[in-house]
């Protein structure tokens, strides 16, 4: 479904994405793990169009993604969520979702449709909120929610786009245990309809959900395999146990 080939992105001398090739199969949950600073978010940003790579190709359903501007990618079915919560704080939770829905219907610039009058849109938004467990917060200002609840809004916004491929950048970071479990269940039920690239630090979540895991270290994919094989992999253990810092296999420059 998504094919990344020889992708490179550097900031000065630092190679944040170093010749990455990955492919994500339809209907799978593909987890991306790696230590801090490995370039996971940078990769997501290139997939979602927030950054342009220096070289390499990305194809999405056989279509060259790099020619598509960021704001058109959600309409093609490729949607990201943010690691650092990014919501619209002065809108109600419901309006955050409605905003996404109106965008997907091509009505973001409609002057003559009143925002609060579109009942089917509001019902749909309420339903999405119920699914992520925020149904009772629909009319609160998003800025007044707890951090964990804002994370849920973030996921609800991503779902509202009806994505084909969902790029989840640490969706559970900062959530309470209860919410985290709820989101995990939700992602699990979505797996039949939505393909996912999941960046996550919580290994329990990763190993429970993922069909395939890729490990990113200093911008390079050091392993890409099934969860069982990743667990046994020597390179991965070194990356996580800090082995590569004592005996650097990967050059930084």
């Amino acid at each position: 479904m998504l094919k990344i080939q020889n992708l490179c992105k550097s900031f000065g001398a630092i190679k944040a994405t170093d010749n990455v090739s990955l492919s994500i199969d339809q209907g799978t949950i593909h987890a991306l793990i790696g230590p801090n600073g490995a370039g996971k978010t940078t990769l997501i940003s290139q997939l979602s169009g927030y950054m342009q790579p220096n070289s390499g190709t990305i194809t999405f359903n056989g279509f060259d993604l790099l020619t598509l501007p960021a704001h058109k990618r959600p309409h093609a079915g490729l949607v990201r969520s943010f690691q650092i919560t990014s919501v619209f704080p002065e809108l109600t939770v419901l309006d955050n979702i409605c905003l996404v829905l109106q965008s997907m219907c091509g009505q973001a610039q409609s002057i003559f449709r009143m925002a609060k009058a579109d009942l089917s849109e509001r019902n749909e938004a309420q339903e999405i909120l119920n699914r992520v467990g925020l149904g009772d917060k629909a009319n609160s200002l998003t800025g007044n929610l707890s951090h964990g609840q804002k994370r849920q809004v973030e996921i609800a916004m991503a779902l509202a786009t009806k994505p084909k491929l969902l790029l989840l950048d640490e969706p559970m970071a900062g959530m309470g245990a209860e919410e985290s479990r709820q989101i995990m269940t939700l992602l699990n039920t979505l797996r039949t309809s939505v393909t996912m690239l999941l960046v996550e630090h919580d290994m329990d979540v990763v190993f429970k959900l993922a069909d395939k895991i890729s490990v990113l270290v200093y911008g390079r994919v050091v392993a890409s395999d099934t969860p069982e094989n990743i667990r046994k992999n020597q390179d991965v253990q070194e990356a996580y146990l800090g082995g590569n810092e004592l005996n650097p296999k990967v050059k930084r420059c």
């Binding site: 704001h71 959600p74 919501v87 619209f88 809108l91 109106q102 002057i111």
Partner: protein, 332 residues
Amino acid sequence: MKYTHHTRFLIGCLLALILLPWLFHATDSSYLVSTFTRLIIFAIAAVSLDLLIGYTGLVSFGHAAFLGVGAYTVGILSFHAYEETTFLGLPGTLSGLTAIPLAVLLSALVALIIGALSLRTKGVYFIMITLSFGQMLFFLFVSLEQYGGDDGMMMFDGRNTLPGLDLNDRVEFYYFCLTWFTLFFLFCTRLVRSKFGRTLAAIRQNEDRLSSIGINEYWAKLQIFVIAGIGAGLAGALSANHTEFISPDITHWTRSGDLMIVVILGGMGTLIGPVLGTFLFLLLEEFLPLILHSFGFDLLSEHWRFVFGPILILVVLYAKSGLYGMIFRKGG
């Protein structure tokens, strides 16, 4: 609850504005009709600027440019009608049915060009680039020797003509402007509550998030920039008709500054606020010297800005969300 509160206030204000000419006539102070015409025209421009500053978070410092485009369109057409010459092969006209729509159309066009370029920048750069475009137009108008250069030009034939309406009549012109003001205000009320209005609020709050939910924020911003330009262009066309005199001063950056002050003074992100701000600002400007004089402060009366400035600062400091906040937030 708050909604009906607003509506009642607005209807009250509108009724007062409709009745004003009678009041002035009765108290033998008909010249005040002209003052209030000026207020209403300026309020149109202020409301249009607030669509950018208050609703979208775009601090445009060149809004007077569109006032100028509107005013000069009306002025140049009138000039050629008087001289019986042509402009680029086209005859001049005094007809309001041609001049005013053309003024609005040209403002929209200029807003489209300025917007398309300026909106590529953000934050402070956007403020500076809109300021520069405003000043560019100012110097363009100064350089138009044929149309009076920096002295400006008179509309010797008087105001635009309209079928069934005599704009040269003070009271009829007042109602003409009030009608446009009301229409524009109602349009904006709808606009900010529309789906597009919600997109604008989203741009103000978290611009970078929009492309990830499939919204092209550049087009949305350009659209509102053009709408605001249309509002100011309309105000410019009315203003030219009001004073029957057009000079580059109308596009000077201090005029853009006045518009910004009025918006902030009245309360950003509300439609009533800029109107209240305009009224306070222009009425103080008009009457503060007289008031000070009548209290015997002759020196201050001459340097009335010395009092004017602190009043504005106090309002902005102590009234949260400006005059609007003073009136509507206290009662809850």
